[in-house]
């Protein structure tokens, strides 16, 4: 073990933990439980076939098989209630990206304004402080009522939850640009726009990117819940649909894919953050 690098040792340990987890999972599975006998009759009726003896809880191998099937055929489309997981994830990613992009368009200029102007900072602060802690899903009824379109409403919810971390981080990053860099620009008689793009933006970029990274994480959390509410398409709807189908295997498989995409999104943003980070 000593001769292996930390990296290989950590990979070996990760694989060992995975197998231990899968083994424990398999062991904990109840054998032939869920018999209708000791079940509330109404619940038993609800559970249907499962209640008649088959275990609803799949084993790790079943889930792995299901995941593999999804990987092999992610994009099939057999009607509104039977689409490949790739299509459903695609819908969710698209909504997140659209809402997130709108949030960038609004949050970055507004953050610049707040960060540069103490007047706007003070004037807008009470609104931000009150709106920021509101759960994005609380906006959903209002969005559905005003927009009258479930897809746009879920995009709006993504927008509203992504906007706050970006806004506050941009404002903070812009406000804490070192005075001396601004003085350099001033002594060189650099115009406002050039100062914004060549000095303030690069100086604040790491802070702004950190805000974006937080935003995309929250957006990916929220989209699942939003799609469960509005239905139709998306991974959130898919999970809810599979729950209604009592396919716990698919629910667990979806959890895996949701986690995977979330990780990839975070990795992309983290790489971008590293790209704009500078050493002082």
């Amino acid at each position: 073990m000593k001769s292996m690098s930390l990296k290989t040792r950590s990979i070996v340990l990760s694989i060992a933990l995975l197998f231990a987890f899968a083994g424990l999972w398999q062991l904990m599975l109840p054998e032939g439980t869920g018999s209708a006998a000791n079940m509330d009759p109404a619940y038993a009726a609800l559970m249907g076939a499962t209640a008649k003896g088959a275990s609803a809880m799949p084993g790790p191998l079943e889930v792995a098989k299901q995941i593999w099937e999804h990987v092999l055929n992610p994009f099939y489309d057999a009607g509104p209630n039977d689409k490949g997981i790739g299509i459903q994830l695609g819908y969710s990613i698209l909504r997140v990206l659209v809402g997130f992009s709108f949030a960038i368009i609004v949050a970055i200029p507004l953050g610049f304004l707040i960060g540069m102007s103490p007047l706007f900072y003070r004037a807008l602060d009470p609104f931000i402080q009150i709106l920021k802690p509101v759960s994005p899903l609380a906006w959903m009824p209002l969005a559905l009522y005003t927009i009258k379109d479930s897809i746009i409403s879920s995009v709006f919810v993504i927008f509203i939850c992504s906007v706050w971390p970006m806004l506050t981080n941009t404002a903070f990053g812009v406000a804490s640009v070192r005075k001396e860099w601004l003085n350099v620009a001033k002594t060189l008689e650099v115009g406002h726009l050039r100062t914004a793009f060549r000095v303030i933006l690069p100086a604040a970029a790491p802070t702004i990117m950190t805000g974006m990274r937080i935003s995309i994480g929250i957006a990916w959390l929220v989209i699942v819940a939003a799609e469960m509410l509005v239905g139709g398409t998306g991974i959130g709807y898919f999970v809810w649909n599979e729950w209604n189908n009592l396919s716990i295997t698919n629910v667990i498989a979806s959890i895996f894919f949701i986690g995977l995409i979330g990780m990839v999104l975070d990795m992309i943003l983290s790489a971008l953050t590293r790209f704009v980070t500078y050493a002082e």
């Binding site: 860099w181 350099v184 060189l188």
Partner: protein, 308 residues
């Protein structure tokens, strides 16, 4: 380039009755950083400002640069009143103030393209390279400031200031954060560059030897708050001095002792000198410490006094 041309031609910088006051920390009234500051800098002259920490040197330099506005008084540069910053006045900041996300070349190019926005890319590069070479940073063009030593960063700051070919360079303790050896070689570089280009320089320093080596004229500022200009010391050493030979100059010790005497004793108790009827803030005393030999052949230190 000395005081005798001042009567006929216009000074490069003329400071008239400058004062700076800030609201007092306790909220009532004001504290005066400095008051009634008058002096001038001739074209091609190298002027050093010496004073204790906190007496308002940076504040004064920021006003000269146009980065801050004085509470009273004017700064006139080449006949024009200063109302803001200008590309004719380049500043080397106390902390180098390089943009850490730009390379050495990028930092200098940012300044050069600010002065000449329409300069062709090739010319821009060549122009920047000239000043990088001038401060002996050839080969480090593509390094980021974080990859440079403290002395190298200061040299980039100097190159950035010189590259816009300003009328005046304003330097705020550019070498004070460096070790003695690096400081010495940078002083030599600055001296030769300024001699070559006949640059007008206004520089703040804490270091007496640095002032004697570089300056034609040394302005002494008393302690704050309410700092004044105590006097202006003309450097009596010959212009050909170098860091290695200046100690052997006859006038070196008279000048040096005069400056130390000021920093140690007079800067504190200047209030008494101020009260004397001879002191005129518009014409602070100009002195030139030299060696005098009296009739008996004894050498001592004499101080030439003159009115500006």
């Amino acid at each position: 380039m000395s005081a005798n041309t001042a009567a006929t031609s216009q000074p490069r910088i003329r400071v008239e009755g400058l004062a700076q006051r800030f609201p007092a920390p306790d909220g009532n009234g004001e504290t005066t950083v400095f008051e009634d500051i008058w002096f001038s800098v001739e074209p091609g002259e190298f002027v050093c400002l010496i004073g204790h920490s906190g007496c308002g040197k940076t504040t004064l330099l920021n006003i000269l640069a146009g980065l801050a506005t004085a509470s009273a008084g004017n700064v006139i540069v080449s006949g024009q009143e200063v109302t803001g910053t200008s590309l004719d006045r380049a500043v080397v900041f106390q902390s180098h103030a390089l943009m850490p996300w730009m390379t050495v070349m990028g930092n200098i190019a940012f300044a050069v393209s600010s002065k000449w926005p329409r300069m062709a890319k090739k010319d821009l590069h060549a122009h920047c390279q000239k000043f990088i070479d001038l401060v002996h940073l050839t080969g480090s063009e593509n390094k980021k400031p974080s990859q440079l030593s403290g002395g190298m960063k200061q040299r980039v700051g100097i190159a950035r200031a010189m590259a816009i070919e300003p009328q005046i360079m304003l330097l705020d303790e550019p070498f004070s954060a460096l070790d003695a050896l690096t400081r010495g070689s940078l002083q030599d570089e600055l001296l030769s560059i300024c001699a070559e280009t006949e640059q007008t320089v206004f520089m703040i320093t804490h270091d007496i030897d640095e002032a004697i080596l570089l300056a034609d004229k040394i302005i002494l500022m008393t302690n704050g708050p309410d700092a004044r200009i105590c006097e202006i010391v003309e450097n009596t050493l010959p212009r050909e001095r170098t860091r290695n030979n200046m100690h052997t100059q006859a006038n070196y010790y008279p000048v040096r002792n005069h400056l130390i005497e000021f920093l140690v004793n007079r800067s504190v108790g200047f209030k008494d000198e101020l009260a004397s009827p001879d002191y005129d803030p518009r014409h602070p005393p100009v002195v030139g410490p030299t060696v005098v030999t009296d009739e008996a052949g004894e050498t001592g230190t004499g101080v030439l006094r003159a009115q500006a």
